[in-house]
Subunit: 208 residues, 2 copies
DNA sequence: CCTACCGATCGGTAGG
DNA sequence: CCTACCGATCGGTAGG
């Protein structure tokens, strides 16, 4: 799996400004105020440098957004492929796919918030690439649900509603989860993958 | 219930610009591009008037956002109170509370998108009022879940995770639902309230 | 409803 | 990494 903990690249710790530090600072501000609500001056100010110096470490504001949203979306699809490969049971595949997706939204909260709020601020060609990857992921989840319905493993119901509900439920984790909560990221992901199975299986009893 | 269909107040139909038409136009643009991504010039342009003329129909850009987000949030809380009043069964109360919340997000998509994306762009005192109302609604849903757990009607599990998952699943309807879809707003709301019961009841069988 | 205009801020560049 | 500066656009006002 392509997970790693959020890289704590801050100015204070490293002492110097670098492309990674600029990206991390922008990520925090974009998540807090949105892409259009963040100015390059604010990014510079937080790094205690002037605006023009920022351009030694980035191509521009739009480039930062493209890197954040593009990288994250590619990783989401990669996670799905890796975690469902070589598994027979459709129930187990859905459980694992939801688990990694939920886990990512607990571990990479800032990225998730920016991806979901500011995707429409992306310029081409990254916009089209990102939308295509998201569509592919949603269709893959929907396909799993439909496969389970066809095999009578899941309750007979509209697969599209199930996949939307399950995916967006996971996305929302980024909006309320805190590391210092009573639950770990893994516990939350485990619980949410259970919710997904409950929704999918419907009247079939699910062990808690 | 405080529902009505989305008021189709467009410039073309009414022929004249009014505060309601300006608000409706701003609502569409805010939903499409975000509050910070929309300029007052764009609002004016869509109404085929000049920017200064807009100020005959509004106090300012921030005032439009406050009206959209403030009104919607107050209605959400009012819906909850009205729909759960005088009902004994905790299961039925949760089902109805989720139904109206989901239904609103299918019927008032633009409002829902703006409320959830641009709430942080609100200025005081409306910001505090809105956050308090949202907190109250979330705690009320969580309270219902806990009440059901205590009564052994729902599975024993963290009530906070259930309430977050259920509420955000509903919020997301605004992002994918279209009136011309294969499902009506009522059908989607019905299905989502069923999902909520499945998550809450867990290992208890739920009739489809 | 308009023209004319305000100061502030935007992302970004020149040049060192 | 900086100062100095660019044209464009921002939300909003004056005055009619």
């Amino acid at each position: 799996m392509a997970f790693s903990l959020d890289p704590p690249v801050s100015r204070e710790e490293r002492g110097v400004v670098s492309p990674a530090v600029v990206l991390d600072t922008a990520l925090t501000l974009f998540a807090e105020r949105g892409y259009h609500g963040t100015s390059v001056k604010e990014i510079a100010s937080r790094l205690q440098i002037r605006t023009p110096s920022l351009y030694n470490h980035m191509s521009g504001k739009q480039g930062l957004l493209q890197e954040i949203v593009g990288d994250t979306t590619r990783e989401v699809w990669q996670d799905f492929v890796e975690v469902t490969a070589g598994i027979d049971g459709v129930e187990e595949r859905l459980e694992k796919a939801v688990y990694v997706y939920a886990l990512r939204h607990a571990r990479r909260r800032r990225e998730a918030i920016v991806v979901n709020r500011d995707v429409s601020s992306l310029e081409e060609p990254v916009l089209s690439e990102v939308l295509e990857l998201r569509r592919r992921h949603e269709h893959a989840i929907r396909g799993l649900v439909q496969e389970g319905i066809d095999a009578s493993v899941f309750a007979d119901q509209p697969a599209s509603l199930v996949s939307f509900a399950v995916l967006e439920m996971c996305v929302s984790i980024a909006r309320w989860f805190h590391v210092d909560d009573r639950f770990s990221a893994e516990e939350v992901a485990k619980q949410y993958s259970l919710y997904a199975l409950r929704i999918a299986k419907g009247d079939v009893p699910v062990k808690a």
